[in-house]
């Protein structure tokens, strides 16, 4: 199954991309996505426990994904 991963702000700058598609095995979790992203160049600048979202809602690492899900790795928010 395929999921889309979104990166923003400082994380997008660190990894040099704003999105990527990942092929995952059925039953893969948000934590698995994070593991794949950590293998990319520049990912050493991600913190140990970044905020995560699935389909525009905050989610935990244990969340099991479905094909087509949109996973976002969210830098510390700074609106206002």
């Amino acid at each position: 199954m395929t999921v889309t991963v979104l990166l923003f702000a400082s994380y997008a700058d660190s990894l040099g991309m704003k999105s990527l598609a990942l092929d995952l095995s059925p039953g893969a979790t948000v934590g698995d996505v994070l593991g794949h992203v950590r293998a990319l160049p520049g990912a050493n600048r991600l913190p140990a426990s970044p905020l995560l979202a699935v389909n525009e809602r905050y989610a935990k690492r244990e969340r099991v994904l479905e094909s087509g899900d949109e996973v976002a790795i969210i830098p510390p928010v700074a609106g206002g």
Partner: protein, 165 residues
């Protein structure tokens, strides 16, 4: 009730008019503006970016929560994205209520929740020509993955989880 991410400048007076009504005795207007200094560094401008669809969803959630908690549907919130200059309004919150206490409380609730939850980021431009993401790990306050930053994120994540994310 209305919330939006906008690109054009925000007309605060229009938002105040939007929440007005004869049943209300108080209107609280909060205007967040771009400041000329942050952490002692002179700031010349600011660039806001958002995970727009999620930001709009979170802002709508926050407005609904405030409506339920404080008993008014007369809440309008606009947050601007793009390049802003000093003094520009980045966020405007208009709340009207029959009574001032609840109007103030609802306004405060919206801005505090917005700053904690809505996926918006700002790239500060400094007078020496450099730019940094506000709050980003490794932005001049130690390397990414430092103990302080990690614990901040974990507690933020935990509190978000408790809200039923």
């Amino acid at each position: 009730m209305r919330t939006a991410i906008v690109v054009a400048s925000i007309d605060a007076a229009r938002l105040a008019a939007e929440v007005a009504g004869h049943h209300n005795g108080a209107t609280v207007l909060f205007i967040g503006t771009v400041r000329d200094v942050n952490d002692g560094r002179p700031v010349t401008g600011m660039e806001y970016t958002a995970y727009r669809s999620m930001a709009e969803r979170e802002m709508a959630d926050i407005a609904r929560e405030a409506a339920t908690r404080f008993g008014t549907d007369d809440i309008v919130v606009e947050h601007r994205v793009g390049v802003l200059e000093l003094g520009d309004a980045s966020v405007v919150i208009a709340v009207a209520h029959p009574h001032r206490g609840a109007a103030y409380d609802a306004s405060r609730y919206v801005i505090e929740q917005l700053k904690a939850r809505v996926p918006i980021w700002k790239l500060e431009h400094y007078d020496d020509g450099t730019r940094e993401w506000v709050g980003a790990a490794g932005s001049g306050k130690g390397e990414a993955g430092s103990g302080v930053r990690d614990s901040d994120l974990e507690s933020a994540h935990a509190s978000l989880g408790e809200r039923g994310a």
